[in-house]
Symmetry: C2
Subunit: 196 residues, 2 copies
């Protein structure tokens, strides 16, 4: 029986892993530093050696989330023509939110008050945003549409998929069987490329 040593050895990753599990089970507000510490088998104040406070731990989780989202967007980035890629990007964004709703809420919600306080989180978020922008730009170029900056179309496309994802995970869209919901997601995420 390995009795536990005074020092954990890799507490920071252990805390992040436990906290990520708690996050996905119960959401950020119900996640407690104390419970994450319990899962790692350390005292309730040990986490403060690795994170400035609860918000800093959440910010680290959010950064991981943005990295995973970025990866998911990259995976569909080279499929078919620009219109298809844009559609697939939107679909991947919504799929990510549906697969990990609590993480998604944390990434975009108010629990992390100012991302600029957490450079790692900010950078990871910008990485994900750049994938969206790239897909929109490529689409515009393929349609020979020229704009000074792609900001307005990028925000439009982002709003569309972000709004759909938010409404879905917050249970605002009800009374649909699974199949109809899938078609709905395809229709909405495709709206930007198919036009009105």
């Amino acid at each position: 029986m390995a009795k536990k040593p005074y020092h954990h050895g890799s507490l920071r990753p252990a805390l992040l892993a436990g906290a990520m599990e708690l996050l996905e089970q119960k959401g950020a507000p119900s996640l407690s530093l104390r419970e994450a510490a319990r899962m790692a088998g350390v005292s309730q104040t040990a986490p403060y050696r690795h994170f400035a406070g609860k918000e800093a731990l959440l910010a680290a989780l959010a950064a991981r989330g943005f990295e995973e989202l970025t990866r998911a967007l990259d995976e569909v980035a080279a499929t078919g023509n620009a219109a298809e890629t844009l559609h697939a990007t939107g679909r991947a964004y919504v799929d990510f939110a549906l697969a990990r709703p609590q993480l998604f809420r944390l990434m975009f919600g108010p629990e992390i008050r100012d991302k600029s306080v957490f450079p790692e989180t900010l950078e990871a978020a910008q990485g994900a945003y750049s994938r969206l922008t790239a897909a929109v730009e490529a689409y515009l170029a393929s349609r020979r549409i020229h704009v000074k900056t792609p900001r307005v179309p990028a925000v439009t496309a982002w709003s569309l998929v972000h709004g759909l994802a938010s409404l879905l995970i917050d249970n605002q869209i009800t009374d649909m069987e699974e199949d109809g919901k899938n078609r709905l997601i395809d229709a909405v995420t495709g709206f930007f490329v198919t036009g009105g």
Copy 2:
């Protein structure tokens, strides 16, 4: 000096008023029943005579929010042609979110786990949704577009404005002066009627 009587007299509205103020200042998670009770000048457990718990109080606030949103949408419902009305409806939705971000977050966020537990809130939410649907339906009719149900276009329009509102109040869209932001909002909310 009127010393306070044992019975407050109208505690329920007083609690709602105080809680609404706290909500808009600090957000739902930081709002405490105890502080609302303090503002009303009663003991910390008095609110339990009028609300089953914190969530029930929040649900009542959310219901008020949906009623105000409904009113705001009704105010722009009869302006100009159907396309203009739809655009104005979207703009009013975003304006509401910007004017009362914490209330907006509460209305659509996860603090109220299941609206069906709070019929007043559910009904108020459906009232607001019906205004959105009506505007979309009128627009489709004006363009002689026939659909079996307006669900897909309604959800599309809703996603667009809801996503934009969410991104704005969660500070995801930065580095813009006020003027540019206003044009951005006009462009995004108009996207549904102007087409891609």
